[in-house]
């Protein structure tokens, strides 16, 4: 199976690999997947309290090239969005952007889950109710 150029580019030059201080009030952390399934993504957002915009996003991913590319792309898209805007990122947007084949769609689902998990973590930390909307898979 050949990888798309965009997947290869994100894999070779991943954007925003790293760790944010998860103890900070304005940092939300999402950890999704499981080692036994072969994918674990950790995605973090840092929200600028004055503007409500996501000023930084970082990821670390254990998984195949498509999983790494999906999370790298997600962090790029998150930066500069409001938390509410970030919620609108759909896994199919990632599939389209990276030209993921059907067997790799679960990587995009995981990335969307990671975004939602990070946002939920941020919301709970800041006294907001957890969002229940999670895609079934």
């Amino acid at each position: 199976m050949a990888y798309s150029e965009k997947v290869i580019d994100h894999y070779s030059n991943p954007k925003n690999v790293g760790t944010l201080d998860k103890s900070k009030q304005n940092v939300g952390t999402g950890l999704v997947g499981a080692p036994e399934c072969g994918d674990v993504m950790r995605l973090q957002i840092e929200v600028d309290e004055a503007s409500g915009l996501i000023k930084d996003a970082k990821f670390k991913t254990f998984g195949c090239g498509s999983a790494i590319a999906s999370s790298s792309l997600a962090t790029e898209w998150l930066k500069g969005k409001t938390v509410d805007q970030a919620l609108t990122i759909d896994n199919m947007d990632i599939v389209e952007e990276l030209h993921l084949p059907p067997v790799k769609i679960h990587c995009s689902v995981l990335a969307e889950d990671a975004i939602k998990a990070a946002i939920n973590d941020y919301r709970v930390k800041n006294g907001l109710p957890e969002l229940v909307e999670q895609k079934a898979h």
Binding site: L31, R42, K60, F62
Partner: protein, 406 residues
């Protein structure tokens, strides 16, 4: 010597054909095109003579009589013929077959097929090093056991089963011993007499011969073994496998066997030295583990797990330059990691993190040097972006985390 890319280190999947094999085959595609079963003209005689010669070359490599070689389309067909053929032929004696959980799918799925037809199958587990427990085999034998089907060398981890001991137990209980020796024949000495083998499957394309040809060894003396044919037709191959003989490929298979016979000893030494160097260099990385018994192992195979890095992701770091394979789920259609590695007791996480290196006749030291560097660099790079590696380094017990399973 200048390195040419990509480097091929997946010789357990298939081997490149030796040019000397191709050379032997070529005339049999064109001017010597006859049907080996045409008994009444020179075209047929030439083809038959070539097949007879190849049969001797194949038999010599495994210390068999040429009459004991049944040519097939490959090891999968030979596995099917052996297991189904024995099951049908010896039905009056019993319906019990013993095999292991780490067999190739061609053996496992054939057994599953027979289960539906009324066979009783025992799937022996393996120990952590991939070897079976002989006491467990002995215990599993019953008066109804007609066949023990245990592979010679494993395709994923290279572990070599104690074939002599297995055949002794099998014989003591009056059953037949079949071994899938696809990965072993041509790589290490395999002797059907000394090893006490009754039936044995092997294939041309794993030993620098052509694809689409293989053989089933069927013992003719002490005991005389019979299998019911699974392919009906003109009664070729002593009635056990009908179908016009694939003369060019059989000629190539014969030549490949001859080359292995002459070169195996020195080749095995060269390959195991390179393999050991590759392995010891890669084991310098933290949290890298060899899968399978390291003493009882084929000389050209190394299966290594690099913890906290996923196999497919790892291969992507160098798959334009180096061809290897992985036990990761992502490389298979099933999305399940390797059942062989899991049978060795590896957790799914380690099975997902494995690479299989299969060295071969045309592997060079320079290729190994390059591979050591490329794999090491990619492991280090991916660990830098692995959340699991970060947690491991922080001393977090990953088993205590509640993962969201998909």
């Amino acid at each position: 010597m200048e390195l040419k890319f990509p480097i091929y280190l997946d010789n357990n999947a298939t081997t490149p054909m030796d040019p000397r094999v191709l050379e032997a085959m070529i005339p049999y595609f064109t001017e010597k095109f006859g049907n080996a079963a045409s008994r009444n003209h020179p075209f047929g005689w030439v083809a038959e003579e070539a097949v007879d010669y190849a049969r001797e070359q194949v038999a010599a490599l495994i210390n068999a009589d040429p009459k004991e070689i049944i040519f097939t389309s490959g090891a999968t067909e030979a596995d099917n013929l052996a297991i189904k053929g024995v099951y049908e032929m010896y039905q009056s004696k019993g319906n019990h077959i013993i095999t292991t959980v780490t067999e190739h799918k061609a053996v496992l799925d054939t057994c599953k097929h027979l289960e539906k037809l009324g066979a009783e199958i025992t799937y022996l587990p393996v120990q952590e090093d991939g070897l079976i427990d002989l006491a467990q085999l002995e215990k599993a034998m019953t008066p109804k056991t007609i066949l023990v089907a245990i592979m010679y060398g494993n395709n994923e981890v290279g572990v070599i089963q104690p074939v002599k001991e297995i055949s002794a137990i099998t014989r003591k209980h009056g059953a037949l011993f079949f071994t899938d020796a696809t990965q072993a024949v041509g790589k290490i000495p395999v002797d059907v007499m000394a090893d006490g083998i009754d039936l044995m499957a092997f294939s041309g394309h794993k030993m620098y011969g052509p694809k689409g040809v293989g053989a089933l060894y069927v013992r003719r003396k002490n005991p005389r073994v019979k299998v019911t044919s699974q392919m009906d037709g003109g009664g070729h191959e002593r009635g056990m496998r009908s179908g016009t003989l694939n003369v060019p490929s059989i000629v190539g298979f014969g030549k490949a066997c001859e080359l292995c016979m002459n070169e195996m000893e020195s080749e095995a030494k060269r390959l195991s030295a390179m393999r050991d160097r590759l392995e010891s260099s890669l084991l310098k990385l933290e949290e890298a583990y060899v899968n399978g018994n390291r003493q009882h192992r084929l000389p050209h195979v190394a299966n290594i797990s690099f913890k906290y890095v996923e196999g497919e992701g790892l291969m992507m770091g160098f798959n334009k330059e180096i061809a290897v394979s992985s036990g990761s789920a992502c490389t298979s259609a099933s999305l399940e990691p390797s059942y062989v590695l899991k049978a060795l007791g590896l957790g799914d996480d380690l099975a997902h993190s494995s690479l299989r290196f299969g060295l071969g006749r045309f592997t060079t030291d320079e290729q190994i040097d390059y591979t050591i560097k490329a794999v090491s660099n990619t492991v280090l790079k991916l660990r830098e972006m692995s959340p699991l590696w970060e947690m491991f380094k922080e001393g977090i017990d990953l088993n205590k985390i509640e993962w969201a399973h998909h």
